[in-house]
């Protein structure tokens, strides 16, 4: 069982990699000094996940519909396991993201892969913030018309 902090960090990496494109994952991987040999435990495989909702947002669970997802598992020669899980059908990305998961577990939080992941995460945050500011520009500012003489 991993301690809380590295686990939360790893969860953050999964989230960032799931939202990244193949080129972005490759760019992070390029920061690794070397890619150690690894075995592919589970080849990139595309399947579905049933997305659940809750009635009223908080009530009884129900099946909303499925979504495609792709997963992959690798093992470095030293035994470190790397996984990737992401919506969509990008099998090329899946294997690279799994290798990254393994390498990130071995690297300290100040390493080059971690800083590359931070930069990627920052770009994603900026894109989200930009979308949010565009939505915020459509927010209604109500004002009351004063009619007639006071």
């Amino acid at each position: 069982m991993q301690s809380k902090e590295p686990m939360a960090r790893r969860q953050g990496h999964f989230a960032t990699l799931a939202r990244a494109g193949l080129a972005e994952v490759e760019a992070v991987l390029a920061e690794a000094p070397a890619i150690p040999p690894f075995n592919v435990l589970k080849r990139p495989e595309t399947g579905t996940i049933m997305v659940e909702g809750r009635a009223g947002g908080a009530g009884r669970r129900f099946n909303l519909g499925e979504a495609t997802m792709t997963r992959c598992a690798i093992r470095l020669d030293d035994g470190t396991l790397g996984f990737s899980y992401a919506l969509g059908r990008d099998t090329a990305k899946a294997q690279k993201a799994a290798v990254l998961d393994a390498l990130l577990q071995k690297e300290g939080p100040d390493g080059p892969l971690h800083s590359a992941m931070l930069r990627l995460d920052e770009r994603q945050k900026q894109a989200r913030a930009q979308a949010s500011r565009k939505a915020a520009a459509t927010k209604v500012e109500f004002f009351t018309m004063v009619r007639g003489e006071g």
């Binding site: 399947g47 996940i49 049933m50 997305v51 669970r61 519909g65 495609t68 459509t138």
Partner: protein, 370 residues
């Protein structure tokens, strides 16, 4: 007796080429790319994802291209493809309260926490043609506010719920795994999880018509749109091998919470009641229609008479799936030569018997002639 008829093979193969040519249209016009459909026909893509019951924008765009824009044919393609994929599991229930909001409006409260965010909507357009789109060109850059929206916005029924004025919405004892109609046969009366799953994948037009019927009096609900929100929601999954939740990325969802008139009893004071709709992509009309019909289908729970189609789960659930409906309607195109031959013989025999029965006696005719 079945008589095997052969000989259609060459004709059928020729239809494949002919439909491919028809789909392509004038070859002098540039071919449309799947990515263009995905990016520029996003609302059609959302509809195909809902009715195909699979979230994958690229596949839905491909389905639309292959089906020449026929949404039901496209949903059929998606459904067929889905059966070829293994299912890895179920997500954690999506948290729509943590949605990254792009649109959120309430017709019930003017000043609600988080505000009225109109987002990308056609509601305030004049429905006049924009002939500039004939020419193409770049869209204007949308303006940005200085600050982002609030990270979380309360759902409107929860605001009413805090006052005790809203029918509570809590998971049943043990938070059970939902019924899955893609794997288990549906029986009636159907529980709410079955109904919501069926409506999420059902035909938008069918639900719209039923929802409309409810408003017009065939079901007696004319609710408030308590809240409609649209934006991105994370999908989380707990892989067995890890044992902790992993964020798989985001999907776009539209959620509608209808606030309906009261129900109460001897023990429960009158409360507003809920109707709920949730759909893939930006699918507001679908989510609203679903919320109307969801409330109508709860009539039994509230001890209301279920006199109208929208209140009858068997009627709604058995007729709302457009792939099933299209299959049964369109199967009429298949050869029924032998059945029809039987009908022909029958009607000829009935007519012959009728003529024989009605034929006048020869003797009276002679008398009349004289």
């Amino acid at each position: 007796m079945y008589v095997a008829v052969k000989g259609g093979e060459a004709a059928i193969l020729a239809t494949h080429d002919l439909v491919a040519e028809a789909r392509r249209g004038d070859p002098a016009i540039a071919e449309i790319e799947v990515a263009q459909i995905r990016e520029q026909l996003g609302l059609a893509v959302a509809r195909v994802m809902n009715e195909g019951s699979l979230y994958d924008r690229d596949l839905a765009a491909l389905a639309l291209k292959q089906a020449q824009g026929d949404a039901i044919e496209a949903a059929f393609l998606i459904r067929a493809f889905r059966t070829t994929l293994p299912r890895f599991g179920s997500s954690l229930p999506v948290e729509t309260s943590r949605m990254a909001i792009r649109r959120r409006i309430s017709a019930a409260y003017k000043d609600l926490p988080g505000g009225q965010v109109l987002g990308p909507t056609y509601d305030y357009t004049h429905r006049l043609f924009d002939f500039a789109l004939m020419e193409g060109g770049n869209a204007p850059e949308a303006p940005q506010a200085r600050a982002s929206l609030a990270e979380t916005m309360p759902r409107v029924p929860d605001i009413l719920g805090a006052e005790g004025l809203m029918e509570p919405e809590t998971p049943p004892e043990g938070d059970p795994t939902p019924f899955d109609l893609t794997r288990q046969p549906v029986s009636f009366p159907a529980d709410r999880d079955v109904r919501l799953q069926a409506m999420a994948r059902s035909d938008e037009g069918f639900l719209l018509g039923l929802g409309y019927s409810v408003q017009r009096g065939f079901g007696g609900n004319h609710p408030f749109a308590g809240e409609i929100r649209m934006g991105e929601v994370s999908v989380e999954f707990v892989p067995e091998e890890l044992g902790f939740p992993v964020d798989l990325g985001e999907i776009t969802l539209t959620e509608c919470q209808m606030v309906n008139q009261f129900a109460g009893s001897k023990d429960v004071p009158p409360q507003f009641t809920r109707g709920y709709g949730l759909a893939f992509g930006h699918s507001e009309r679908k989510a609203m229609s679903m919320a109307l019909v969801d409330r109508a289908l709860k009539s039994r729970e509230f001890g209301e008479a279920a006199d109208y189609p929208a209140q009858q789960d068997e009627f709604v659930l058995y007729h709302s799936d457009n792939v099933e409906a299209a299959g049964f309607v369109e199967h009429l195109k298949l050869p029924h030569y032998v059945d029809f031959q039987g009908e022909l013989e029958l009607i000829r025999r009935i007519r012959a018997e009728r003529e024989a029965r009605l034929a006048p006696e020869p003797t009276p005719i002679q008398e009349a002639a004289e």
